[in-house]
């Protein structure tokens, strides 16, 4: 097994830290493909370790399995992924990360403004007033911090 080209589901599970049941689940969802032994046991490619790692990272970025599958479909199952395959998928993940960071930074900025101005307690803050006085005349803005 150790030096094999093919690996068992348990080995893949140990190497990636995900449960065996989760791997079967990923296969069912099309994120992974397995060959079968004569006795019907799954055999994965060693490169599937990376594939699964990819799923884990992408999940941390907030992607759902369906989206991840779309990303991964760029990586052909059968052959060893090329440098280009890898670059493409990595760059698209990089963009996702950048977008997430930007959103968080925006939120942080809004929050800082809000902390600074004494929102909620003094009735001086523009955000607060949007809730209250401004809100009192018509539909008004929906979300306090966007």
């Amino acid at each position: 097994m150790i030096q094999d080209r093919f690996i068992s589901i348990g080995y893949l599970a140990r190497r990636t830290g995900v449960a065996v049941s989760a791997i079967r689940f990923y296969e069912e969802k099309g994120l992974l493909t397995a060959l079968r032994t004569s006795g019907n046991q799954r055999r994965f490619l060693r490169s599937d370790i990376r594939r699964v790692s990819f799923v884990l990272i992408a999940q941390k970025l907030g992607l759902g399995l369906a989206e991840i599958e779309r990303e991964l479909s760029a990586l052909p199952q059968g052959r060893t992924p090329t440098l280009e395959d890898w670059e493409n998928i990595s760059l698209s993940m990089r963009e996702a990360i950048d977008a997430k960071i930007a959103l968080l930074e925006l939120t942080r900025r809004k929050l800082d403004e809000c902390i600074g101005c004494g929102c909620l307690s003094l009735g001086k803050c523009r955000l607060y007033n949007r809730d209250d006085e401004a809100g009192a005349q018509g539909p008004g803005p929906r979300f306090v911090l966007k």
Copy 2:
């Protein structure tokens, strides 16, 4: 209603952008408390608009409703939250945001290293080798990019 101290569930829903059913759900989960009219309809405080906004922001930060409830329990329902209440909860959210950003930046860095080195295709990358040769002798590291 518009200048009332108390607001209906529909108004709260419109002002926050969340569905009426979601508000009832939040109440059930203890995130919100409502008074009732003689006819059993809910009446919220105007300040609950902010409370709900808070839930929305905290959710964007990846907190679950249970955790949010814990945070929110610092904000007493009955009285107008003070500057201190607000500052405390905002600061703890700020920390959560900072942590998230840091994690994303780490991931981005790892990913960049990986893109730069031509992982997966050339057998030169340390990350790649951890999967493969290193992985071939023993348990080895579990996650490719941590």
